[in-house]
């Protein structure tokens, strides 16, 4: 059996766990714990402190694992471990919380430094009224024109599939240029 993995990262409460949950064939193995910080509790009750873990069986011989990183910087020691050997990564951004954009940029740069693997950015919660437009988020995150940023609703399987497919297309493109 061959295994490959992709990493889903992004700031606290960006929707990483939900993203994996939408496509995983197993119940996502989530190491969620009650939040102790009052400010974080105001956003959600529990958070991922080690990782989320989802699986998609491709065929008898190949399995794709999806790993979700914890969002808070105090768990960043986990990021490098999780990024080891990944095919690529998805950076999730909460489109309704501009206060997290700076952190998203920082996480993106950190992951780029770990591994030169392809990545895409998913602008999550695009169905919420206060969501920023994708192109505004592109500028806020200082993404160049070549970086894919995709509208996303992590609860919607179709959106999640599109994000994963775009990442896979980027990997194929990259393999083509390295020939």
């Amino acid at each position: 059996m061959q295994n490959v993995k992709m990493v889903v990262t992004g700031p606290f409460s960006a929707g990483k766990t939900q993203f994996i949950r939408s496509v995983s064939e197993i119940e996502v193995v989530s190491t969620e714990r009650k939040l102790t910080h009052a400010a974080e509790r105001a956003v959600k009750e529990t958070t991922t402190i080690a990782m989320d873990f989802g699986r998609i069986t491709v065929d008898n011989d190949l399995v794709l694992y999806l790993f979700g990183t914890p969002g808070q910087k105090r768990f960043d020691f986990m990021w490098e471990i999780l990024s080891e050997g990944m095919l690529g990564f998805v950076v999730m951004v909460d489109s309704t919380r501009p206060e997290t954009f700076r952190e998203a940029r920082s996480i993106l740069e950190t992951f780029r430094a770990y591994a030169p693997t392809p990545y895409v950015v998913a602008a999550n919660k695009q169905d919420v009224k206060d969501a920023w437009e994708v192109q505004d988020i592109r500028h806020a995150l200082r993404l160049d024109g070549d970086t894919k940023i995709l509208p996303c609703i992590a609860t919607d399987k179709h959106h999640v599939k599109t994000v994963l497919l775009e990442l896979l297309y980027s990997i194929l493109d990259r393999m083509g240029t390295e020939r």
């Binding site: 998609i56 491709v58 990944m86 920082s106 430094a113 969501a131 505004d136 497919l165 896979l168 194929l172």
Partner: protein
């Protein structure tokens, strides 16, 4: 959709950067600690600015810039509200009191001074209204934002913030496609600009320009914010894909594996 938030999380400089890069038209409304400011843009360029209760009419701006004498100003003030700024400007130019350049220069100075005041606002709400164009009855300018953005970026002093913005100095810089015209750069900034080349890491540039890490980060942050440069991997340092990301080293098998993944996800 909304472009709104708190200045605590998204600074005025960052907003100007976004409006500049996205070439937006509309009005940015800022609710600061004591005042409300309205800043209008056309195609990403500053068109008009007003703060608090200040009327900011043409007569008072020309008085402020000493282009009108007090008695002229008093005479014109009595007509305020009767004629628009555009009509007044035309009258003054035709009467030979001021030139068109005087008017535009006075307005630019006035509007940029408002933006400079906004740089000190670190708390407050903002929202961008694409449906509110620059006011029609006022004279609009067409001012590039790059210099203001660089000026605003110089005020970011906190090392922690700068480190968040530019986590590593191992990356290199390259110029974007945007033209660099009429830039007001400091000596230090020019020293950095002349070494910008995808072959040079920021660390190397800092060494050559005799800047410490924080000075380098601050300068690069300003240039990035103004949309003049972008971060890239140093040329020649392009690292190939990690072979360990695939369970096989055969390139055709790797490609086949990705295609199988694509097929599976399409069927989900």
């Amino acid at each position: 959709m909304a472009l709104r938030g708190n200045l605590r999380d998204f600074t005025v400089t960052q907003l100007l950067n976004l409006i500049n890069l996205a070439q937006k038209t509309g009005t940015l409304i800022l609710d600061g600690p004591t005042d409300q400011a309205h800043i209008s843009f056309r195609n990403g360029k500053l068109a008009y600015a007003r703060i608090g209760q200040e009327d900011g009419n043409l007569a008072s701006i020309l008085r402020e810039s000493s282009k009108l004498r007090p008695d002229q100003y008093r005479a014109l003030s009595t007509r305020a509200g009767v004629i628009s700024d555009k009509e007044l400007g035309l009258l003054l130019v035709n009467a030979g009191y001021v030139s068109q350049e005087d008017i535009l220069f006075g307005l630019q100075v006035h509007f940029t001074s408002i933006i400079r005041r906004l740089f000190t606002w670190v708390e407050g709400l903002f929202r961008f209204e694409p449906g509110i164009p620059p006011p029609d009855d006022r004279i609009n300018v067409k001012l590039d934002l790059e210099n203001l953005i660089i000026e605003g970026s110089r005020q970011l002093r906190e090392m922690e913030e700068l480190q968040d913005e530019i986590p590593s100095l191992d990356l290199a810089l390259k110029f974007t496609e945007r033209p660099m015209t009429n830039l007001n750069l400091s000596v230090q900034e020019w020293r950095v600009v002349r070494f910008i080349d995808p072959k040079n890491s920021m660390k190397r540039i800092a060494g050559a320009a005799k800047l410490n890490d924080m000075e380098m980060r601050r300068i690069v942050y300003g240039l990035i914010q103004a949309g003049l440069v972008q971060l890239v991997r140093p040329a020649g340092a392009e690292i190939p894909l990690n072979p360990r990301m695939f369970p096989t080293q055969d390139r055709e098998e790797q490609r086949g594996l990705i295609n199988r993944l694509i097929g599976r996800i399409q069927r989900l």
